[in-house]
């Protein structure tokens, strides 16, 4: 009954407000919001599309001398390397990492959410820990651990197995990339899967038991199918995220000479010999963009199905946990090994490298600890500039997107503005734009616009602000919970549009606004792709500084930056855990 009732409630159209009823303030604010959103998302993309058809390739599309041409497309798509290496590499990398992520994340989520595993909340927190650490930090930590000559793990393995030379493991390989990426994405997928598992009504499984089905049959015929929509959505999202991955392919794939789509675009812009090939980069980006958007459409369908599949009826709901019994020890072992590999070792190796340099730990080196790297960092204006930039860019773009996103959500849900569904579509599609492409598009746009923004931190703020989907979806979900009558009561009490928004809607939306700000801030804090593509001496952020230091062989300083980032992330994780646990009111 609940499912049917919810469906009916969801499809009942809200009365909605007409354009004329909004008042001047309303019309003004809404128009500005809509324009800003459309600008932030589509202006760079239009620029990108144009560039693909303009040449010669080293000219910006509107520079004098540029003409319409198919030369870029021909150069890119007649090159067989695209089909023999870039596309297969991208597919293998994506399929491999997503499979690895899913096996790990599902096992972890199931253990934490559905079994009597001990110390579940602690495990939950530690698993989530790497979520906030920028991918480039993890990638560098993986190099410290697994580089063929000096990687800790390799040195240890050689000692144990009595081998000499280098190896046996090599991070600079497709396997290494898959391992780093697959493990790196586990926290994100774990978060989504554990939510899906938690919201599943356990009596669905118990009903199967009571019908005479063994635990295995129950798992195969009830648990998995019921969870399917809840698994499918994270699966598509993970594919999308992996496909647009840039850090690992750059940091690990480049030395290994393994190119995927995202790095291919980057190298068109940073060629060794020539000037940047804007047109070719844009041409490479096109199918990549289409792929991203297609995946997103799939994702949208999957979550729709998941909503129809709502199974929790509330009453009689009791979280019952699967008793691990003699599987308890193997389960604990699995968790310990996973946590060691995914969270503890990378953190330890970073801290170590920041104090002792890039070497294998041994007793004699213990005496040589030095804070020189930190001292060097703290004395450098560049470091402090990057700290400031990181917070400034993450903070202001999160604020901009939160405000615009919430207003968009309101406009889409509560007005009869013509074309509001297009708006909804565009804001959601922003999620499907790979960040390499967003970076490239912003670069093309602000290089062409003669307003002197390029190279400043503000170009980063604008570039970061295209991700409207998160804020508008969160705002929408929250607004759906707030009955339109609450607003109407304010109108009938004599409150105008601005008053109603300020005194009724905003206070009611506050928790969701905070959540979306925090989320966007975290995304901005982790961001590496956009600031790398748009980098200039004036707008470096922490993750870029770390990469630059690492490339110029200042390993200890790079590790020190990584350590600082991790130190900042720890309190945020604890705050987030409290938020999550408070929401679910669980153990």
């Amino acid at each position: 009954m609940t499912a049917v009732a919810q469906e009916a409630a969801a499809s009942t159209p809200d009365p909605g407000r007409r354009w004329g009823e909004l008042g001047i303030a309303g019309v003004l604010v809404i128009s500005l919001t809509v324009l800003a959103a459309l600008y932030l998302i589509s202006a760079p993309l239009i620029m990108l599309l144009t560039t693909a058809f303009r040449g010669p390739q080293d000219l910006l599309p509107f520079e004098p001398g540029a003409i319409w041409t198919f030369e870029n497309l021909r150069a890119v798509y007649l090159d067989t390397k695209l089909y023999t290496s870039v596309i297969p590499n991208t597919l293998i990398f994506t399929a491999g990492s997503v499979s690895l992520t899913f096996v790990l994340a599902f096992t972890l989520a199931w253990l934490v959410e559905r079994t009597d595993l001990p110390w579940r909340t602690t495990v939950f927190t530690i698993v989530l820990f790497p979520l906030l650490v920028p991918g480039v930090v993890l990638a560098i930590a993986w190099i410290f651990l697994l580089s063929p000559n000096t990687g800790w793990v390799n040195v240890a393995l050689r000692g144990v197995l009595g081998l000499t030379g280098s190896g046996p493991l090599d991070i600079f390989s497709m396997g290494g990339m898959i391992l780093a990426q697959g493990v790196g994405l586990v926290p994100f997928v774990f978060l989504l899967l554990s939510a899906a598992l938690r919201s599943m009504n356990p009596s669905l499984e118990e009903a199967s038991s009571a019908s005479g089905a063994s635990p295995l049959v129950t798992f195969l015929r009830v648990t998995l199918p019921v969870l399917r929509p809840g698994i499918l959505a994270p699966l598509i999202l993970a594919t999308l995220v992996t496909l647009e991955q840039f850090e690992i392919p750059l940091v690990i794939g480049f030395p290994a000479r393994i190119n995927v789509f995202s790095t291919r675009i980057y190298f068109e812009l940073n060629t060794d010999s020539d000037l940047p090939a804007y047109g070719k980069a844009a041409a490479v980006a096109l199918p990549f963009l289409v792929g991203g958007i297609l995946l997103l459409l799939l994702y949208n369908r999957a979550i729709r199905r998941a909503e129809h599949f709502v199974t929790v009826t509330g009453k009689g709901y009791r979280p019952s946990r699967f008793a691990l019994g003699r599987w308890k020890l193997p389960a604990i072992l699995f968790i310990v090994i996973y946590l060691a590999i995914a969270a503890v070792l990378p953190a330890v190796v970073l801290v170590w490298a920041s104090l002792f340099g890039y070497g294998v730990p041994s007793w004699p080196t213990l005496g040589t600890a030095s804070f020189a790297a930190y001292a060097g960092l703290f004395a450098s204006g560049k470091f402090w500039g990057a700290v400031g930039n990181t917070f400034l860019v993450a903070g202001s773009s999160a604020a901009i997107v939160t405000v615009i996103g919430a207003l968009l959500a309101w406009t889409i849900l509560r007005t009869r503005l013509p074309g509001r569904f297009v708006l909804d579509f565009v804001s959601f599609m922003s999620l499907g734009i790979p960040s390499v492409i967003a970076g490239l598009a912003a670069m093309l746009l602000y290089l062409s616009l003669p307003i002197g923004l390029y190279g400043t931190v503000w170009v980063l703020v604008l570039a970061y602000s295209y991700r409207m989907a998160v804020a508008s979806r969160l705002g929408r979900a929250a607004l759906m919970q707030i009955h339109a009558e609450l607003e109407e009561a304010s109108y009938t009490a004599g409150g105008g549009w601005a008053t109603t928004i300020r005194r009724i809607v905003l206070p009611l939306l506050a928790p969701s606004l905070v959540a979306s700000f925090v989320l966007l801030f975290i995304l901005g804090f982790r961001e590496f792709t956009l600031p790398t593509i748009l980098q200039s001496p004036d707008n470096t952020v922490l993750s870029v500084i770390m990469w630059q230091l690492f490339q110029s062989n200042q390993t200890a300083q790079a590790a020190a930056v990584g350590t600082m980032i991790v130190l900042f992330v720890v309190p945020v994780i604890f705050a987030m855990r409290r938020l999550l646990l408070a929401q679910d009111g669980k153990d």
Partner: protein, 369 residues
């Protein structure tokens, strides 16, 4: 058929242990309808889940049809899927990824001796006909109303003709009107298939109307059990009395014992005397509590003489259509009684209350809760 002996279930929780069931024993004969009734949190669901095998008891034994299915002392625990049961969950637990037919066919399809396809089809349709859902066999499970979900849940529980049917508040998710209707259907259904049934509810009218035997639970133990009429008319203590329906409580003092089992008592704050049946161990001068049902209180508006009468004032009247509820003030207490709707009276009128000694229960102080 079903035998539960000294069942104990203790949950471990972060702040210590929760004794949810503290020694529950009962037997349900073949074909009988047995109800566990009690307030929220008294351990009904826990008991039921132990019988189902979804929960491992901490102590005691459970046997179904002569086979011990749970005995922690001997390390016996037959898992739920090896017990021959059918269960209807409070949330119905209809699988959203299957249609109605798929849901009902499931217990047959996963059976160790899976019947042939044609037989499955026949038995599923038979079960669906039983609950009047045969026309909706192909309907998706997510497109069912609450009442329909419930019927499907019943069909699913009955389709493999289990020895024991377990029902956990199956009516509590329905709205009042539908609940009434489903109650009759359920009663009829269970009677028709003549299956041994263990039913859990906190609704006393359901329990009284449907059961062959009721066990009233409180705080993890069974306080009283027996046929509904016995438990209703002879509640063992004030808790049972109050839980099973409207009850009046009058405080009184024993004036004089008139026999081995009977005595004359005076109502506190009222005039007049009653003769009542007394439990042993109460002497003259002791304070007692008299408990009786509103429908057992006769009200007279003309002054009458004689014993077994106590005078009061009409405090409030509430016309219900088929009857009038009359609240009488006697001393400091309010007593509820039922009047024929034709009787007219007004607030403040003098009235005389008569209770049939055979229809009231007397407790020594302290025994009533």
């Amino acid at each position: 058929m079903l035998k539960v002996e000294s069942l104990v279930k203790v949950y471990a929780s972060p702040d210590g242990t929760v004794p949810a069931v503290r020694g529950v024993s009962f037997t349900v004969p073949q074909g009988a309808f047995f109800t566990l009734l009690g307030p929220s949190g008294c351990g009904k669901t826990t008991t039921l889940r132990c019988v189902a095998g979804l929960e491992q008891p901490s102590g005691g034994t459970i046997s179904i049809d002569g086979t011990v299915v749970a005995d922690p002392a001997r390390g016996i625990h037959v898992p739920a899927y090896r017990r021959d049961i059918g269960m209807v969950f409070q949330s119905y637990a209809i699988w959203p990824h299957m249609d109605v037919f798929g849901n009902v066919a499931y217990p047959l399809r996963v059976a160790r001796k899976r019947p042939p396809r044609a037989e499955i089809r026949e038995r599923v349709m038979e079960a669906l006909r039983l609950v009047g859902m045969d026309a909706m066999a192909a309907r998706s499970a997510t497109k069912l109303s609450g009442g329909q979900q419930q019927r499907v849940a019943f069909a699913r529980a009955l389709v493999r003709h289990p020895k024991l049917l377990l029902l956990d508040e199956p009516l509590s998710n329905l709205d009042a009107k539908l609940r009434e209707q489903m109650r009759f259907e359920l009663q009829e259904l269970v009677a028709r298939v003549a299956i041994t049934t263990l039913y859990v509810t906190h609704d006393q009218s359901e329990a009284l109307a449907m059961s062959d035997n009721v066990a009233v639970m409180s705080d993890g133990i069974i306080v009283q059990s027996g046929p509904p009429r016995d438990v209703y008319t002879k509640p063992r203590d004030a808790f049972v009395a109050a839980f099973l329906g409207a009850a009046n409580f009058l405080k009184a003092e024993v004036v004089q014992r008139t026999g081995a089992q009977s005595a004359l008592v005076a109502i506190e704050g009222g005039s007049g005397r009653f003769s009542v049946t007394l439990p042993p161990g109460i002497a003259a001068g002791d304070h007692i509590e008299i408990v009786f049902r509103p429908e057992d209180a006769a009200i007279h508006f003309a002054p009458m003489g004689g014993d077994d009468l106590v005078q009061g004032l009409v405090e409030r009247l509430s016309f219900q259509g088929g009857s009038t509820e009359c609240y009488l003030r006697i001393g400091g207490t309010i007593v509820r009684a039922i009047l024929h709707p034709a009787i007219e009276t007004t607030n403040g009128a003098a009235a005389w209350l008569r209770i049939d000694p055979a229809r009231c229960v007397v407790y020594a102080p302290g025994q009533g809760r």
